[in-house]
Symmetry: D2
Amino acid sequence: MATNRQLAQLVKQVRNKTVELCQPLLIEDYVIQGIDDVSPPKWHLAHTTWFFETFILLNQLKGYQAFDPLFQYLFNSYYQSLGNPYPRVRRGILSRPTVETVYQYRKYVDDYLISYIDYIPMQQLQTIEPIFMLGLHHEQQHQELLLMDIKYNFSLDPSFPIYHEKNKKSTAKASRPLELIHVEGGTIEIGHRGNNFCFDNELPRYQVIIKPYLFATRLVTNGEYAEFIESEGYQKPNVWLADGWDCIKKNGWEAPLYWKKIDGKWHEFTLNGLQELNLAAPVAHISYYEADAYARWRNLRLPLEVEWEHYATQHPTILRDGNFMEEGLFHPRVSTVTDQQLLGDLWEWTASPYTPYPGYKPMEGALGEYNGKFMSNQFVLRGGCCATPKSHIRPTYRNFFQPDKRWQFSGIRLAGDA
Amino acid sequence: MATNRQLAQLVKQVRNKTVELCQPLLIEDYVIQGIDDVSPPKWHLAHTTWFFETFILLNQLKGYQAFDPLFQYLFNSYYQSLGNPYPRVRRGILSRPTVETVYQYRKYVDDYLISYIDYIPMQQLQTIEPIFMLGLHHEQQHQELLLMDIKYNFSLDPSFPIYHEKNKKSTAKASRPLELIHVEGGTIEIGHRGNNFCFDNELPRYQVIIKPYLFATRLVTNGEYAEFIESEGYQKPNVWLADGWDCIKKNGWEAPLYWKKIDGKWHEFTLNGLQELNLAAPVAHISYYEADAYARWRNLRLPLEVEWEHYATQHPTILRDGNFMEEGLFHPRVSTVTDQQLLGDLWEWTASPYTPYPGYKPMEGALGEYNGKFMSNQFVLRGGCCATPKSHIRPTYRNFFQPDKRWQFSGIRLAGDA
Amino acid sequence: MATNRQLAQLVKQVRNKTVELCQPLLIEDYVIQGIDDVSPPKWHLAHTTWFFETFILLNQLKGYQAFDPLFQYLFNSYYQSLGNPYPRVRRGILSRPTVETVYQYRKYVDDYLISYIDYIPMQQLQTIEPIFMLGLHHEQQHQELLLMDIKYNFSLDPSFPIYHEKNKKSTAKASRPLELIHVEGGTIEIGHRGNNFCFDNELPRYQVIIKPYLFATRLVTNGEYAEFIESEGYQKPNVWLADGWDCIKKNGWEAPLYWKKIDGKWHEFTLNGLQELNLAAPVAHISYYEADAYARWRNLRLPLEVEWEHYATQHPTILRDGNFMEEGLFHPRVSTVTDQQLLGDLWEWTASPYTPYPGYKPMEGALGEYNGKFMSNQFVLRGGCCATPKSHIRPTYRNFFQPDKRWQFSGIRLAGDA
Amino acid sequence: MATNRQLAQLVKQVRNKTVELCQPLLIEDYVIQGIDDVSPPKWHLAHTTWFFETFILLNQLKGYQAFDPLFQYLFNSYYQSLGNPYPRVRRGILSRPTVETVYQYRKYVDDYLISYIDYIPMQQLQTIEPIFMLGLHHEQQHQELLLMDIKYNFSLDPSFPIYHEKNKKSTAKASRPLELIHVEGGTIEIGHRGNNFCFDNELPRYQVIIKPYLFATRLVTNGEYAEFIESEGYQKPNVWLADGWDCIKKNGWEAPLYWKKIDGKWHEFTLNGLQELNLAAPVAHISYYEADAYARWRNLRLPLEVEWEHYATQHPTILRDGNFMEEGLFHPRVSTVTDQQLLGDLWEWTASPYTPYPGYKPMEGALGEYNGKFMSNQFVLRGGCCATPKSHIRPTYRNFFQPDKRWQFSGIRLAGDA
């Protein structure tokens, strides 16, 4: 458990990081919402603040006065038990509060948080700390969302704005060869263990029987995915799920989200601007449907989430030095001989729908809406990505998206029956 | 294995049953399509025939000439590998082929099938019989779909047509009390066993660890569900999945599909016409979202499909005498002291998304599209219903629907953590 | 004014004609609704009957009992003052009442009408006759709608059903040359004159000043329109109204409604089946947007409705022998030296929005909804077509459709500033 | 004709006014687009600049280099002959160019314009001046659009931002009584006369015969419109056009656009913030459908545009001192004894669809798309409003909107048959 001082330190550090990520933005960039799925950056700044204000200050700090009562409505994301939230799809049509006011809101709440932490008695800290930790991990999720959403918004702009000039050029032009490792099956344990923070959806730890399986030693590359496109994979219904086929036909998809063919050459929009496609780098921004179809086309499949977690926890040494947000690349790296890309680089689609673990209990009260209510029509992704804070990820971490979403940094890990 | 004579007998029997189910229809009833999900009855009659024509006659019978080449397009449901099918949503705007022509088509194909069976040599029968069996089970699925679709179409008609005058009145006004049976967990086996017919999605049989669980001794009744409505269950976001909440708000749902309040009293549209709601009978035509919300409101949950199958196979004696299509009620019955309603009455939503069993292999060729490609965004239902042919169902049978669908005969089985 | 006997005769004649037009239909053909705009043939049969039942029998005949009270709801087209009508877009999902019941409905109402006419006293006949006349002209409008709707429904069927085998082949392969007649302007009178039947929207007659204008001596032909297509007229935004451009791009239109290119050759779907396009025949089934764009491309324009009426009433001799419903062609004819195609063949789009004449008064009561409430967002068409009963049309007759509609038999008359 | 100096003066004055109108905006306010109909303020600033750059500098000034070639795409509104414009509905998802860049763009173009004007030789000025004048009137149209769009955007914000604190309070609580003036008919002349600027759609002047008519001496007030609401006017189908009825039911309209009932009292959102409704002030932000229904409910009608122009030109003395943009109220005023509100206050819906005058010729080239291509599905409004620059309006001026639009400052002038 953290001391008051450590907690205060952590709060400052994480909260400041969010602000730091917004440094390259101009005021106008904070306002826009390119599609319903993304949120304006200023909304993220305010909503993460609202989270602390709502679940800590208003709940715990006697006499605390909300910065602006209207914000309880505007910056509630989806907590129906706190009242009908402002509609998500209309976040991009509000010019007020201004960016400046949102930063004042952050300062106001941060100041209260820090002084509040200061005087929490030891015994109370024990019950309050988990909510702080939840708020910080929540903030880290929105740090990644900020990068995802900025990337999406910028990609719609025909001037292709650059969020970040890459300083360390990733010049590797060849990835390690793709091997499929044979892993023995058996009765294994899955789920979070120990006292460190985890989300409710990683619990309770439980036993499961798995069969022997094959597991790829790296992510699928752009070059490999380009073969799928060239072999007319997007025109072959037999490798697609029925919903996937409908999805690509309805949306006219014929390549990953950010690929653009310019003068006959594939390019890719990145947070470093529009780049020529590096065939050795992992294919990114792929829907579940595309990941699944690609695997099927290779006569393989996506891993189950229990296989993924089993493999990852069996290989602790390869989990170090992943390509996370802190690297400042904001783009997946070419795999090297020592890097299996398990943590970092890209989230990896698993073949597992997002369901509760046996005996799952959501948190009490409004926080019970954090995770549990999304357990339908989504698939689990594992491993974090180049936009995920390093301290945020674990091998038991479960991310989830609808199978047609692809603005997250998602990639393909192949697996198979042994 | 069946003899040629037995097979011919079976084919006639099943094929005639489909025609028999259409006897109450007037010609106009065969043509309409009330919503995209349902198909006109004449389409079902033709499509099941197309299945035999395509996968048996055209494939196996040398020199066979299709009844009408256009039917290969019109009555292909979703087999993309056989060419782009006629759009599902436009089935109700075709007046031709007429009902009479469709019956001629059935006779033409049936005559060929019967004479073909006659002369299949023993050794060939072994490889052909499975396709016949698949065609017959496919036909049985469409028998149930016919009843579902006729019910839906008729429900839209303000004159509330009666498909079938109930002959044996189900007069029971009280159901057995609802008990929750405590069942031990452990390592169990799931999936089809033996040589009888099953679909590919019931295989391969595999081992799974389950925890102790609670399992209800009957389906939830209309009266119990009415309590949920009266307690404003449809206005309480905290018992709903996020997608479920969106679904009921978007569609304005405030009760099961066929409930209608007339002069302050709940009525229910049935294949026997509009009836006053029997509070003791099982609640029917419920979406997954509603079933899940109801269970959550009772502080329980829906069973996993492995729990359902485990419970059902542990209680073989209670599987007899279910309320199936052959009963001719086409409506669920009030549970009796000896009837746990496991098979028949209503399909029971499970909390399990529809996914492949470990090691699942779809069939070869176009038939590979039969089941596998639907394994996303759907939930498994178990147990069959009052519109399912008795010989069609098994405890290992996996039905599946999107969680917002409710025109199937679906109900609620409660379960819980022990 | 008609005698009772004459009126009874007329009622029988017109009502029977509607039934006669349905003779080629099979029962299934009566049920379908290909798009929202069209209605199932059985709906037309019932609605025209409802019109007489509602506005004559229920209003005038003491003690008359409605055939079925539900029909007051089902077959009310758009008379809001008679209660909320059954939704237009859902006419095609009702199998009941059956075709047989609808014919019984017609007989029931016709029998009452005929016996009622028999005993109307002379003085009452004067006030009742106009409503009978309105009912009969209404019935004639639906005769044309029946042909339009059957054509549209059949066109969606890949088997291209034939409504009517053409008996007299229209073999002409060349039309008269297109001349533009110079007509003097001045102060003219427009609108219906005399005691014969007309709709309220043709009144009151009024004075208007027109400028000299040019008026084409025949309709635009398929061949001439094909030149527009070949010159990439559908890709040239500058000849289109802004709404027209949006319309053709959104709908992907690149040719008139029923044109289909088969093996590089234009064909046209007609009530006589799919035919090779006769380049000399008038181009048909064209939206206002297409007609307007074509005229603009020719550096001409469409006529104003006052120009059309002025020209037509100046040329009474050319109004005879038009190609109407009675010809039984149900398709426009090639123009001949003596035929300027003013009445019959195709409705002619005018450049005039559908607005009331100065001093216009709608009918009293529910019948006031007949015409007046549609006076926005529509354009006037003049002249009748090959599906219009001959006794239904007059030079002052104003038809009207939204500018994006093209399932009516519409064509292009060119005009210009002199 | 203007001298070079006068023209330069005028250009500076009008261009500066646009910038002045944006002074109250914060940067974020420039970016948003509340609905498809409105545009972000920064788009207006850029588009009006693009107009001068495209039609003057790029066309006339040899060697001129576009500020940014991408702007030719981004800020083209609807000129298809200049290439496919950036989609209107996506204007609000672009953060770049920034507001600062847009102001630089304005300065860059203004500087070129002013120096260009300086050296235009007299004889060339004659041909160039009309394009300058068009650009300035275009700019004035966008000044009004800016105010309309800011008002709409702000109205969606639950904090109800204030664009402008009213300085001169309009305290009048009673309007002059509504009289209907009887005006004689006859043959009159309509359309622009003289050498001053007008749009192409005001020409050519032509003769038309009108009947005697009644014309109201002021606009309909909020109080009078509230009577319509209270008498359940929005629930009475018989006073509505069919399209109007569909429109209000589909959109759930039950009051003018900016009316909000708060604690049982009507309020109105204005550019001066949310205000209690002044019953004596004119009802504003009304669709054609509502204006038409209101008039019908009063047994009157809307004026024809020829009646409006006839009345206005007959009463030149009442045209002075209207309530225009320059007043700085940005809201209609209560009518006074001497003020018939013909020019200024609110645009007045006429019953006339927007069509070309007899002999109308659009401008040559791309500028031909300015007005003519919108002549379908719109109605003419006359008179200007409190957001219209005074020098922009004339009695012959024709504004036009689709009948379901109401974000423009529109009101109701009653008229009738004499």
